[in-house]
């Protein structure tokens, strides 16, 4: 076709800026990163440059820190189901109250919208164990309810407010040094603090907006039919709302996994510097420190490719498991 040939040349012209941009800043770098990952490249050349084949990857498998930080990354992702469930609940509730929806939506979306360094500095101040507002409130409750006296009367050792970002404790009782669970670690620590902040930021954010759109797309006939059959609130949710929202949930879960696996960098850099004792160092923060603080570009590139592969594999598994859910 003449028109096709004519338009092909035009299309090339329109695509040119983007093609160049992608070649230089995406496609090229991805391949280059793979090349870097088989070298021992040190940014300041304190070590002689060498091709090391797969040695970086071997080293990585034996790198205890890598495994500990993988666990940190997974631990921080434990907040995801709570954030998603919260978003769903909010969306369902909000979809019934159109009056004031703009005000509520604004309030709930505010943390997503302003998230970043400013919010993290705010939470860092709130979490401060000595001067922070959060512990001031907790201590005030502990005092006024005489909780400590109660616990001591029951033979306990007394309760004190968590030290939040300074504490290596966690809800699962994970050890700091080794991959195992020890009971003494049980409690609220830095990782839990970050999870709580993450839920606070995400709960009314993009996921809630997606659920809101999903709920408003449910045909009212389905709900009415269920009501005619005498279904209660829970039954309607279980048999109508939840299955109808399956595609939305699937999309949100896939995106949350992708985000969670490469997440945790900004909060680690701004709030904790990866501490205490490395408990808030995620894989992406580890890559940053390796590349831009220790200047081991080769090793960091290998790390980033392992992360990339993990994201790819987990996304594929999600598709396998969740893809079926979509055919209702």
């Amino acid at each position: 076709m003449r028109r096709q040939r004519h338009e092909r040349r035009a299309a090339l012209g329109f695509l040119l800026p983007n093609l160049i941009g992608f070649g230089v800043f995406t496609a090229g770098p991805v391949l280059f990163s793979l090349v870097i990952s088989i070298s021992n490249w040190h940014l300041h050349r304190t070590v002689a440059f060498q091709w090391v084949a797969l040695r970086n990857f071997v080293e990585l498998l034996q790198d205890r820190d890598f495994w500990l930080y993988s666990i940190n990354t997974a631990y921080l992702m434990l907040g995801i189901p709570f954030a998603i469930a919260g978003s769903l609940l909010l969306a369902i509730v909000l979809s019934q109250r159109l009056r004031g929806i703009v005000v509520y939506r604004t309030l709930f979306y505010l943390p997503t919208f302003t998230s970043g360094v400013a919010l993290m500095l705010l939470w860092k101040a709130l979490y401060n164990p000595e001067f922070g507002a959060l512990n001031a409130v907790i201590n005030w409750w502990l005092d006024s309810l005489h909780l400590n006296e109660l616990v001591r009367a029951l033979g306990g050792g007394g309760v004190s407010a968590p030290t939040w970002l300074l504490s290596t404790k966690n809800m699962l009782g994970l050890d700091v040094e080794q991959i195992r669970i020890i009971p003494g670690q049980w409690g609220l620590g830095a990782r839990d603090a970050l999870i709580i902040m993450g839920i606070w930021i995400a709960i009314g954010g993009n996921n809630m907006l997606l659920y809101l759109a999903g709920v408003s797309n449910i045909p009212p006939e389905l709900v009415e039919a269920a009501q005619l059959d005498g279904a209660g609130r829970w039954a309607i949710f279980r048999n109508v709302t939840w299955p109808q929202l399956a595609p939305t949930t699937f999309f949100i879960v896939v995106m949350s996994f992708i985000g969670g696996l490469q997440g945790g960098f900004e909060q680690a850099r701004v709030m904790t510097l990866g501490g205490p004792a490395g408990t808030t160092t995620t894989i992406s923060y580890y890559i940053y420190t390796k590349a831009f603080e220790e200047f081991q570009i080769g090793y960091a590139a290998a790390l980033s490719w392992v992360l990339f592969s993990a994201i790819f594999v987990i996304t594929m598994i999600n598709w396998r498991l969740g893809g079926k859910e979509l055919h209702y």
Binding site: R3, F14, F108, V117, G204, L210, E224, R269
Partner: protein
């Protein structure tokens, strides 16, 4: 006929029947108010703390005993906060302009022009969205070193000026424009560029506004790239400036909070002004993942 007549605009109120029967003060109402308060309290604390004298920040009284308005000018005295503001807005504005332009051009080629292999190329294009940013940071950093763009506006602007997401968003948008319009223009002898500029672009305004807002937001809050790229103080953007401000003056919580308030004020204004576009953009962007 349904035994439970729909109230108000039925489509959105799919559940209204059984919910409203429970009366005004339902569990849902309580939950909404509770959540709204939880969202609001940290922000309120931030604003109030930014007006307090330092020794009062840690105390429980919510209202400052003396309103220290001078906390705000103090931030400008201690660090070049005005400079950070300018850098952030300047860079974000350029990135927004360039990204809208390059994305619109590519979207036009994908949505309105006929050429062999178009959909394959588009799918490949979308696949690049899966690449995590961390993978690109290291090679792009070494590239910037080679190009002598470390520590420069150009290094912050140029790599951010292309977006597969933006191309996707605008393509979805342009697909909804009736094809009769560009055919008519083509018959009148208009070149593809004229059709793009005079027909498609004006009709894509809503899509461009949505993309523009998201790009501006994303870049205004951008952290990783400026953190590794910028060394000189006068080139710092707001997030980087805030980070170092906290490192050096971290104990002055009232000033940090004043800076944080100033950081998010432009965002709040933008959100209130453009809420409709933002909500639609989030929902549109996820249609096809």
């Amino acid at each position: 006929m349904s035994a439970f007549p729909r109230e108000r605009s039925g489509r959105h109120l799919a559940f209204s029947g059984w919910w409203y029967r429970r009366g005004r003060f339902t569990a849902s109402h309580v939950l909404l108010v509770l959540m709204a308060v939880t969202m609001l309290v940290p922000f309120m604390w931030m604003v109030l703390a930014s007006f307090k004298p330092l020794q009062e920040v840690e105390q429980l009284n919510p209202i400052p005993s003396v309103w220290r308005f001078e906390n705000y000018p103090n931030v400008f005295e201690q660090v070049s906060f005005a400079r950070y503001y300018f850098n952030s807005i300047f860079i974000a504005a350029w990135v927004t302009f360039l990204q809208c332009l390059t994305s619109a051009m590519a979207a036009y080629a994908f949505a309105r022009l006929q050429w062999r292999g178009r959909d394959t190329v588009f799918r490949l294009y979308l696949a690049t969205l899966m690449i995590p940013g961390v993978v690109l940071m290291i090679p792009n950093y070494t590239l910037m070193v080679k190009l002598h763009l470390l520590d420069s506006y150009l290094g912050l602007i140029v790599p951010a000026s292309f977006s597969a997401f933006g191309t996707f968003l605008l393509r979805q948008f342009m697909l909804t424009i009736p094809s009769a319009l560009d055919e008519a223009a083509a018959i009148d002898g208009a070149s593809p560029w004229q059709i793009f500029w005079d027909v498609i672009m004006p009709l894509s305004r809503a899509g461009l506004v949505t993309l523009g807002i998201f790009t501006f937001l994303g870049n205004y809050g951008s952290f990783f790239w400026p953190l590794i790229l910028i060394k000189s103080e006068h080139l710092r953007t707001l997030p980087i400036g805030m980070l170092y401000f906290d490192t050096v003056y971290g104990r002055q919580t009232n000033l940090i909070m004043a800076a944080s308030v100033m950081n998010i004020i432009p965002l709040v204004i933008l959100f209130v002004a453009a809420q409709r576009h933002i909500v639609r953009g989030v929902q549109l962007g996820a249609v096809k993942g």
